[in-house]
Symmetry: C2
Subunit: 180 residues, 2 copies
Amino acid sequence: MRVLGVDPGLTRCGVGVVEGVAGRPLTMLGVGVVRTPADAELGHRLVAVEQGIEQWLDEHQPEFVAVERVFSQHNVRTVMGTAQASAVAMLCAARRGIPVALHTPSEVKAAVTGSGRADKAQVGAMVTRLLRLSAPPKPADAADALALAICHIWRAPAQNRLQQAVALHTAKAPSKGRLA
Amino acid sequence: MRVLGVDPGLTRCGVGVVEGVAGRPLTMLGVGVVRTPADAELGHRLVAVEQGIEQWLDEHQPEFVAVERVFSQHNVRTVMGTAQASAVAMLCAARRGIPVALHTPSEVKAAVTGSGRADKAQVGAMVTRLLRLSAPPKPADAADALALAICHIWRAPAQNRLQQAVALHTAKAPSKGRLA
């Protein structure tokens, strides 16, 4: 399973590609940051994010894209840019037919450190260990993107079983079936 | 001046095209709503919004796109979808090199009704009068999109004069000049 993790942001959008399956050692295929200038017009910044994400999709051909789920209770100005950058990442993936998964920050932290309240340093340290890197990826957005990809690989089996159970249930009870 | 107004939303994205200049009667060239199913995946909804906006840009070839500026103090769930739909609209315009302007809801209300606190019905009534329509456009999102386009046409002369003044000032004082 090859996953592109995206930690969305307008100024720094972290991206990281991880390959592997749950229960086996994982491999990092690439990590980086898509940056856009803070003084550029918003529309141009979104185009730059789109071009950056497209390059990563072209180069690594991931089977899944995992994006951090954005909440609006944080800083008002930041959250808008984050929501907009995440929209561009989801759009790029969905346009290619690549399934998009959203994971909350606490899901990601819990997946890689065991605690949903872990700090940046702890996440960076575990990403470094799990991917057998020589040093923590920098900036933190890049490490977070890798953590998202790892989280998706590890959570996917459970999610697939859940989806299969739901599919089985709705197949048995067509009157309650939901549209895809 | 031909302007596409966009009242962003995932479930209903209002779109309206108005042509004219400040101080002269305005003409509506088109109005509608881009809808996406609430039970579809977010990525697919964003792709549907993109396709809808692209169709409107193709058909009407606007010189400007005016999008409602999204604030995050409103309903948390709604504002995320609104921010994401607005990102897609801005992206579509900027990709084509069409300038994007953001106007706040109160700027739009003040422009078309004289009051920044006008209600939906008042905005609808003024849009109907200003564009000489036989009835208010429905749903309200469609009327709001037209109001955005009207607001942009009316505010553009003042904004242009401001930009020219800034450009003149920075040309005279190059040491304080800002990067574009």
